[in-house]
């Protein structure tokens, strides 16, 4: 479960995030959409516990896995050691995870020898290696081509569902949110507010029901 109750978050005197309630029930995936600079990553950092300078409360119990916007890998350690060193997973467990994200046979390489898509897969494998109860994804598909995005979205969806993890995705793409999330929100305004995003079927439902 993720529960964040925010009164205000600012950068110095400038308010970035206004009052908002974010609740993601256990086992569900929520997406937060919004343009660049609106405060999506700031909100994710608060959820991740990386930013404690805010007015409000945060409840994110259990183990955490984060897929950062940049893969944030140890370029000087091999692919498999990026998993074992950071999460404590066994070498055998790490090799299984690499196979799960499609990086079989790459364990001995350095991250710099992988493509960007493969580096992002490795970042996902690291997050999964932490056996997370809460998985946070910060623009995990940035700079990837559409075919690869669909492929990786399926990979994440399968991994999250298989583990029963609660997941929060931050993205600027409605398409990505629809591929992964059970519920989506939009961050809008200055300071930003969190507004639920109605599904594509919602206008149709309202027309039929006469609301």
């Amino acid at each position: 479960m993720i529960r964040v109750s925010l009164n205000r978050k600012g950068q110095g005197a400038v308010p970035v995030l206004g009052p908002m309630e974010l609740l993601v029930p256990p086992g569900e995936t929520a997406a937060i959409l919004g343009p660049s600079g609106v405060g999506k990553s700031t909100l994710l950092r608060i959820v991740a516990g990386l930013d404690s300078a805010f007015d409000g409360t945060r409840q994110v119990p259990g183990r955490l896995g984060v897929v950062f916007q940049e893969p944030a890998l140890l370029k000087w350690r091999s692919v498999v050691k990026n998993l074992t060193l950071m999460t404590g997973v066994s070498r055998a467990g790490a090799l299984d995870l690499l196979a799960e994200v499609g990086l079989s046979g790459k364990a001995h390489l350095f991250p710099g020898q992988l493509s960007l898509g493969q580096q992002r897969r490795l970042s996902i494998a690291r997050a999964l290696a932490a056996e997370p109860q809460v998985l946070l994804l910060d623009e995990p598909f940035a700079s990837l081509d559409p075919a690869l995005v669909a492929d990786m979205a399926m990979l994440i969806r399968r991994a999250v569902r298989g583990r029963g993890a609660t997941c929060l995705l931050v993205t600027h793409s409605l398409n990505e949110a629809q591929m992964l999330a059970d519920k989506s929100y939009r961050l809008i305004g200055q300071p930003a507010r969190l507004v639920p995003l109605e599904s594509r079927l919602e206008p149709l439902r309202r027309a039929v029901s006469g609301d």
Binding site: R45, A48, G49, L50, L64, G65, V66, F68, E70, A72, L74, K75, W76, R77, K81, L85, M86, T87, G88, L109, F110, G112, Q113, R126, A130
Partner: protein, 246 residues
């Protein structure tokens, strides 16, 4: 490339021989052959090995002490701006304190012994290592720091696998410049107050006005330090940078 290095060495030896021939005073500038003869004599009677080992021991001890203390201090100052604000002025003072002052003070305060000698050398180098490591610690990748805060690996892993590899260029530069500076200060320390070592022999050569002895020991130690750089520092640097070339 080795042909170029050998050729430059031969040119330097030739220039030295020509200068010695032109000066025509072996007491002021002996020929390379004369200095070579002194090296052979000193090696045969065991003096060369004895004094070289004494100096090398001091260089190693002072180097390890300076690098460890400088690394710890640099990391602490680079990661804690509040602490840096307190210590920055002291660092500037230490950086500008002449080596000779530190050596004399250590001999006066601690005594004419090995502890004073090694402390004096290390104290001369620690501020420079601290400064270089501090800049490296400041440039640590913020994303990696955030990642470490999320996954919380052990402190040993954070230091060995996250922090130090990021600072490898600064550590290598501090190590290389440290070695070059430390052995020169060790010679001064030995010159002023030790009963053995290359610096002591240079002092002896100075008192006897024996330029050949001075050149013989200085040359031998330069060769040893070049070997240390080639056999230890460069292979370590190549290993640390293996991932960049992969």
């Amino acid at each position: 490339m080795w042909v170029g290095r050998a050729a430059s060495l031969l040119i330097m030896l030739g220039a030295w021989a020509l200068a010695a021939h032109w000066v025509a005073d072996p007491q002021t500038l002996p020929t390379p052959l004369t200095v070579g003869g002194i090296i052979v004599t000193e090696a045969r009677n065991g003096d060369l090995a004895h004094h070289m080992i004494a100096t090398l021991g001091r260089v190693t001890a002072a180097f390890l002490l300076a690098m460890s203390a400088g690394l710890a201090a640099g990391l602490a100052l680079g990661r804690r701006p509040g602490l840096n604000a307190w210590v920055d002025n002291l660092l500037v003072v230490m950086l500008n304190l002449p080596a000779l002052v530190v050596i004399v003070l250590c001999y006066v305060w601690i005594g004419l012994n090995e502890v004073a000698a090694i402390t004096a050398v290390a104290l001369n180098k620690i501020p420079m290592v601290t400064l270089m490591i501090r800049e490296g610690a400041r440039a640590v990748d913020a994303q990696l720091s955030a990642m470490v805060r999320v996954y919380r690996p052990s402190a040993v892993i954070v230091l060995r696998d996250v922090m130090l590899p990021q600072m490898a260029p600064q550590i290598a530069a501090a190590g290389r410049s440290g070695l070059a500076l430390i052995w020169k200060i060790v010679l001064v320390v030995e010159f002023l107050g030790r009963p053995d070592g290359v610096g002591f022999q240079i002092h002896l050569g100075f008192q006897l006005f024996d330029v050949g002895l001075v050149l013989a020991y200085a040359l031998c130690f330069v060769v040893v330090m070049l070997c240390v750089e080639g056999a230890i520092l460069r292979p370590w640097e190549a290993r640390a940078n293996r991932w960049r070339l992969a």
